[in-house]
């Protein structure tokens, strides 16, 4: 299916969605302006409730915007929902395949739903079953499949009509690390092979970081940043140097000395530890250590961490994305230490 000739795959202006519950109106998405070019792989990143899924549901015609406009694949979501639906694939948070159906049956009827002939829906289903490693389970009842298998079936359903634009809403939530990696590989391969435009939402920092070329950070329904992961980190968060000292007083003196020496650095000091946030921290650290040594304040240990997208989010919003996170994502997972010495 070819999209109507268009410069942008997605173009929104002032896209807003307000929900009214018990006479209180809550704006889930507030005036979102977003453009996505054909072939891009974009991650919408934000905490739960930031408005990512609501945005996706408007772009996929599942809910109508309260105000603002959105064109998807060249068509207006409000006035041409039918055309939008033909052009896009959508993999929601739940399971697309009915639990009392068989996987292959669902793929075929999903293909028919997009106007494919029975023969082409069948051969396309076979192809997807093959490429998503579902051969063993495609003719079993969906309810008997494992979570990872069901998720791969969802992906196959989203791809049945070879959409030019694919939306994935929290694709890896509930998957174990191995299945998450597997799913990410499929998304990358899909894009390399077919040039599909991919828009996904996630609250997994590492997923946005490793998968997407472009990260759109959303908080409280607003776009707060939009760039490559590398540029976001360079612009919005410095490296983090953590210095430990033998005495509290040494740490205090060292903090004061660093503040004098590096006006652009953010310095925090607690107990025997000093945390310095500064651009190019990895390059500055050796000289900083020598300087402190000369001043009679030798550090006992030092750790330099590259910024993560969480640091970016923290800087942009004053809150951590990891707050309220469950134990399956220990904080250390997201640190990326590049140098630890004693």
């Amino acid at each position: 299916m070819t999209a109507q000739t268009t410069q942008h795959m997605i173009e929104t202006h002032g896209l807003t969605k307000a929900f009214t519950a018990r006479k209180r109106t809550v704006e889930a998405v507030r005036g979102l302006d977003l453009t996505v070019a054909p072939g891009e792989l974009v991650a919408l990143l934000g905490p739960n409730g930031a408005g990512k899924s609501t945005t996706l549901r408007m772009l996929t015609t599942l809910i109508a915007p309260t105000s603002g406009t959105a064109r998807v694949a060249g068509y207006d979501v409000a006035t041409q929902p039918q055309q939008v639906r033909r052009a896009i694939g959508y993999i929601g948070q739940g399971n697309g395949a009915g639990h009392n159906q068989r996987g292959r049956d669902e793929l075929v009827s999903h293909g028919l739903a997009y106007g494919m002939s029975k023969a082409s829906a069948r051969s396309r289903a076979d192809e997807l079953v093959d490429s998503l490693d579902l051969t063993q389970v495609a003719d079993r009842k969906v309810s008997s499949l494992s979570g990872g298998q069901r998720r791969r079936l969802d992906i196959a359903m989203g791809l049945i009509h070879a959409p030019a634009l694919l939306f994935l809403d929290e694709p890896s939530t509930g998957l174990d690390p191995q299945n998450r990696a597997n799913l990410q590989e499929h998304v990358v391969a899909l894009r390399e092979r077919y040039g599909t435009t991919v828009v996904l939402t996630t609250h997994y920092l590492d997923e946005a970081d490793s998968l997407a070329e472009r990260v759109v950070v959303i908080d409280h329904g607003r776009l707060v940043a939009d760039d490559t992961p590398a540029r976001l980190k360079a612009d919005h968060a410095g490296d983090r140097i953590t210095l430990a000292f033998d005495e509290v007083v040494d740490a205090a003196n060292a903090a004061a000395r660093i503040v004098r020496g590096h006006g652009d650095a953010e310095v925090e000091h607690a107990e025997r530890e000093v945390v310095v946030r500064v651009a190019s921290g990895a390059r500055l650290a050796p000289a900083m250590l020598v300087d402190l040594q000369d001043a009679g304040l030798p550090a006992r240990s030092v750790e330099v961490a590259r910024p993560t997208l969480d640091d970016v989010f923290l800087n942009l919003t004053g809150r951590s994305l990891r707050e309220g996170h469950t134990a399956d994502q220990p904080a250390t997972d997201q640190l990326d230490p590049i140098g630890v010495s004693a």
Partner: protein
Amino acid sequence: MSTATLTPTLTAPSNLARDTAIVFGRELRPVLRDPFSVVFSMIQPLVFLGLFAPLLGNVPGLSGGALQWFVPGIVVMSCLFGASMTGSNLLFEMQTGSHERTLVTPMRRSALLMGRALKEIVPVLVQAVIVIAVVVPFSFELHVAGTVVGLLMLSVFCVGLGSLSYALALAAKGADWIFWTVQQTFLFPILLLAGMLLPVDSAPGWLQTASRLNPLTYVVDAERALFAGSFDGSTVAAGFVAAAFVCALGLLVGGRAMRAAD
């Protein structure tokens, strides 16, 4: 591989009949794959047939004998049970996410409802055949022409009832307890007031009035006439009017609920 080679052949433009057929086929497939599920949903009607019908032996006012009077009622009952519960399938698919997936396809919203509702006819007909097969050896007198017309009427009724059940599932927004509370609250009064289990002829006046306001009463009366081979004009006509009314109401309410899901 280039994008072009991937483009699948799209043969048909979206149209209501094709979309309805796709939904119908999808809904029917689990039944065909597992035909026993139809029999399973019949356990209750069969229990009534086996354990309740014998109690009717000495009840006065049952035209043509207890079995002849009771069987049409039990056929309507299996339709009533099956079609009123069918919304739970949609409810489950709303919870798992597969209903949402059908909403992002270009299929017509009304087809999503009609395909599902039309599928209700299949188990109703299969169940009617099973009930009749069970009772014929017990000297049940089968009138083929009347029975065929009766099942046609019942099909119209159950499309409407199935649609109402789907509308209820959509209105419940995936909440099981709302669906089952409302379904159970309506099911038994409608069943009892229709004179399905016992005749309402000797009931108090207020109950007879309530019975006359119940569309199902007219369907049950007409089924009894037709199963007995009588094509009594006004009774059969009233049954068809009532079935058509429920069908139109169901498609209207259900179609509206499905479109509101946008």
